[in-house]
C-alpha cells in the first residue's frame, strides 16, 4: 500500500516564511498527496537549521473549509511530512559535508545533492551517499547525461529528480524541461526517477494525476509516470530510512497498530517455547 501512495518530495522550506509552507502543505493535502518532503536548500556549507512540520490538527475553520473536513481527518492520520536537505555543491571541497559521519545529516529523512558540474555529478553518482540527485532542468544543462554515469548512481540506489514548477513560468523553461527530462528518461530507461514540484507558492503545485500526465511528455508511459510519484518516491524514502534511521542498516523497531495485534499471537507462543527449553536445560543440570 505504501508504494502506491503519492508523494511530492520537494517543497522548499524557508524558515522565515512559515505561512507559505503551511499554504503549500494544505494545497498538497487538498490535491490528494499522501506525503510531502519539506526541503531545506543550502549552498556549499551545511548549517544547522531545524525544520518545523505543519501541525494539521491546529487549523482555522477557513483552512479546513479550503481543504475539506474529511480530507483533513484522513491527513491527520496518514499524511507524512518528511524533512529533506538539498545541498548545492559547486566545488570539490564542499563534498566533505555530505560524509555520513556528519551529525547534521541525521536530522533529515532525505538527502539530495545538486552537483554544479560534470565531475561533481560523477562524484555524486559513484561515491556520495545520498538519496537523490537533482538538477535544474529549467535551464540548459552544461553537461550531458551519460548512461554510464547514471547507471553507476542507480546501482548505488540513488534516484534522480525532475522538478516541474520552475518550468511553469515561461515557454523557454518549459522547452528546456522537456528536453532535459527526455534525456534523463533515455539514460535511465524511465526507471529510478521521481517527479516533484519544487514549488515556492501553492499555485505552482499540480495534482498527482496532472503530474502523471506531465510525465508522459517526457517519453514515459502512464504506468512508469505513475511510479515516478509513487513507488520510486517511496523507495527514496526507504533509502533514507535505511541510511539514517536503522540500527546497523538491518532492523528498525516500529509500534504495531491495534488492527495488527492478531500478529502478536505468534510472538507469545515462541516465548513459551523458549521458556520450556530453558526449564528442560536446568532440570538436566
Amino acid at each position: 500500500e505504501k508504494a502506491r501512495m503519492f508523494y511530492d518530495l520537494n517543497l522548499p522550506y524557508e524558515p522565515n516564511d512559515l505561512a507559505s509552507v503551511k499554504e503549500r502543505v494544505m494545497m498538497a493535502v487538498k490535491l490528494g498527496y499522501d506525503g510531502v518532503a519539506l526541503n531545506h536548500v543550502q549552498h556549499g556549507k551545511l548549517t544547522d537549521v531545524p525544520i518545523n512540520t505543519v501541525d494539521l490538527t491546529q487549523l482555522s475553520s477557513e483552512e479546513v473549509n479550503f481543504v475539506s473536513h474529511s480530507r483533513i481527518e484522513q491527513a491527520n492520520r496518514k499524511f507524512k511530512q518528511l524533512r529533506r536537505l538539498t545541498l548545492h555543491i559547486d566545488a570539490p571541497n564542499q563534498c566533505h559535508s555530505m560524509h555520513p559521519s556528519n551529525p547534521l545529516l541525521s536530522k533529515y529523512d532525505i538527502i539530495a545533492v545538486v552537483p554544479g558540474d560534470e565531475s561533481l555529478l560523477h562524484q555524486a553518482c559513484e561515491k556520495m551517499q545520498v538519496d537523490l540527485i537533482s538538477l535544474d532542468f529549467s535551464k540548459k544543462l552544461p553537461f550531458r547525461l551519460r548512461t554510464k554515469t547514471i547507471g553507476a548512481a542507480i546501482e548505488n540506489g540513488v534516484k534522480f529528480e525532475i522538478c516541474y514548477s520552475a518550468s511553469l513560468k515561461d515557454p523557454s523553461s518549459r522547452r528546456n524541461l522537456i528536453n532535459n527530462a527526455m534525456g534523463l528518461v533515455n539514460a535511465t530507461k524511465g526507471k529510478n526517477i521521481i517527479i516533484s514540484s519544487g514549488a515556492y507558492t501553492a499555485m505552482e503545485l499540480r495534482g498527482p494525476y496532472d503530474v502523471i500526465n506531465l510525465g508522459t511528455l517526457f517519453n514515459l508511459d502512464c504506468g512508469a509516470s505513475k511510479n515516478c510519484i509513487s513507488s520510486f518516491a517511496n523507495s527514496v524514502i526507504l533509502h533514507g530510512e535505511a541510511a539514517r534511521r536503522t540500527e546497523k542498516s538491518i532492523y528498525k523497531a516500529e509500534w504495531i497498530r491495534d488492527v495488527e495485534e492478531w500478529k502478536m499471537e505468534d510472538v507469545s507462543t515462541v516465548e513459551e517455547g523458549q521458556d520450556k527449553k530453558r526449564k528442560r536445560g536446568s532440570k538436566q543440570k
Binding site: E1, R4, M5, D34, D258, V259
Partner: protein
C-alpha cells in the same frame, strides 16, 4: 447529479431522500439482525480510500458485499477471493464477492464465522456513504451501537445563469458525434463554472486557455440544479420523468441531466469490474429533447469491463 434547463425557473422535483455517512467497524454491519432487516436494498460505498492505492468496497442493493483488495490487504485479510481483471500490469488486485442474503450466511456456518473473524481482527474502521431503498423510497436505518452515523438529506443547490451562451437545439439540429462531444464539453464547463467559455462577454483571463464553444449558441438565461451525495436511482428517475413532462408540455425547449458516479467504486454497470489507474470515469448524461426524444451518453473509464 446536475440538471440544467435553459429557462429561469425554480421548478424541479424536490428530493426527500436521506443518506448516512457512517464510521465504524465493517463487521458491525454483518450482524444477523442488521442483515435480515437491511441487506436487500442497502447501497453503500467506501469513502476516503482510493482503489488504485488501497481498498475499495461497496454494498449492492441485491444483497452483495464486494471488496476490492490490493495484494497486501488480500494476504493479510485471509478471505478467498478471485483475481481481478484490472489492473492488467503489476501486482494485481483481488475481489471478494459475498452474498449476504444467502441462507448459509448465518452465524455457526463456516463462511460466516470465517468472514466475521477476519474482518473483526484484521480490518480497521471504515467510513461509508449508505442509503437503503425499497419500493422507490429511501428508508431510515437503525445502525448497531458500534457505528456512529450522521444523517443527511439531499439538498437542492440552484443557480441562475445570466448572459449565458446556450446551445440552440431545434428540429434542424443534427445530432451527430461532433455535436454530442461539444454538448458534453458544454455541460462539463457549466458544472465546473468555467465562465470564460460560457459567458463570452466577460473579460478573458490570459492565464486560462482559450477554448471557445463550437456549437451554435444564443444568449439567454438558464438555471442549474445540483445535488451532492450518494443519490438513489429512484430520485434520478423521478427527476428524469419530471424533465420529460416539462419538455413534452412545452414548458422547456430541452433539458439535460448528468450523473457523476464514484471513481473509486469496484463495480460499475451490471456488476462489471471497474478500476481507476489514470482515470476512472463512471458518468452518464441525458439530453432530453422535444417529441419524447432523448440522447444518453455514457462516459466510461478505460479500465472498466463494461466498456
Amino acid at each position: 447529479m446536475h440538471v440544467f434547463v435553459p429557462e429561469d425557473t425554480t421548478e424541479h422535483c424536490p428530493p426527500s431522500d436521506t443518506f448516512y455517512l457512517i464510521k465504524g467497524p465493517l463487521v458491525a454491519l454483518l450482524g444477523p439482525d442488521f442483515l435480515s432487516k437491511y441487506a436487500k436494498g442497502l447501497s453503500a460505498i467506501l469513502v476516503g480510500s482510493h482503489i488504485d492505492r488501497g481498498i475499495a468496497l461497496c454494498f449492492l442493493p441485491t444483497g452483495k458485499l464486494i471488496l476490492s483488495l490490493d495484494k497486501d490487504s488480500y494476504e493479510t485479510l485471509g478471505l478467498s477471493a478471485a483475481k481481478a481483471k484490472y489492473p492488467t500490469k503489476g501486482e494485481g488486485r483481488w475481489t471478494v464477492n459475498l452474498d449476504l442474503t444467502a441462507k448459509s450466511f448465518v452465524p455457526g456456518r463456516n463462511l460466516y464465522d470465517r468472514v466475521v473473524s477476519c474482518l473483526e481482527e484484521r480490518f480497521g474502521d471504515v467510513e461509508l456513504l449508505v442509503f437503503s431503498e425499497t419500493n422507490d423510497t429511501t428508508k431510515r436505518i437503525e445502525f448497531p451501537d458500534e457505528i456512529t452515523a450522521k444523517e443527511y438529506t439531499l439538498q437542492t443547490l440552484s443557480e441562475v445563469w445570466e448572459d449565458l451562451s446556450i446551445p440552440r437545439l431545434s428540429a434542424e439540429t443534427t445530432i451527430d458525434d461532433e455535436f454530442l462531444t461539444e454538448m458534453n464539453n458544454w455541460i462539463g464547463a457549466l458544472h465546473n463554472n468555467i465562465t470564460d467559455y460560457l459567458i463570452p462577454n466577460k473579460a478573458q483571463d490570459l492565464f486560462a486557455s482559450s477554448f471557445l464553444p463550437v456549437l451554435e449558441t444564443e444568449t439567454g438565461t438558464g438555471t442549474s440544479f445540483t445535488w451532492k451525495g450518494i443519490i438513489p436511482p429512484s430520485f434520478v428517475l423521478k427527476q428524469l420523468n419530471f424533465l420529460r413532462q416539462q419538455v413534452d408540455s412545452g414548458a422547456l425547449p430541452w433539458a439535460s441531466l448528468t450523473v457523476w458516479g464514484f471513481e473509486d467504486t469496484p463495480i460499475s454497470w451490471r456488476e462489471c469490474q471497474h478500476f481507476h489507474s489514470i482515470s476512472g470515469e463512471n458518468d452518464y448524461s441525458f439530453l432530453i429533447l422535444p417529441g419524447d426524444n432523448y440522447v444518453m451518453s455514457l462516459t466510461v473509464g478505460p479500465e472498466d469491463e463494461f466498456s
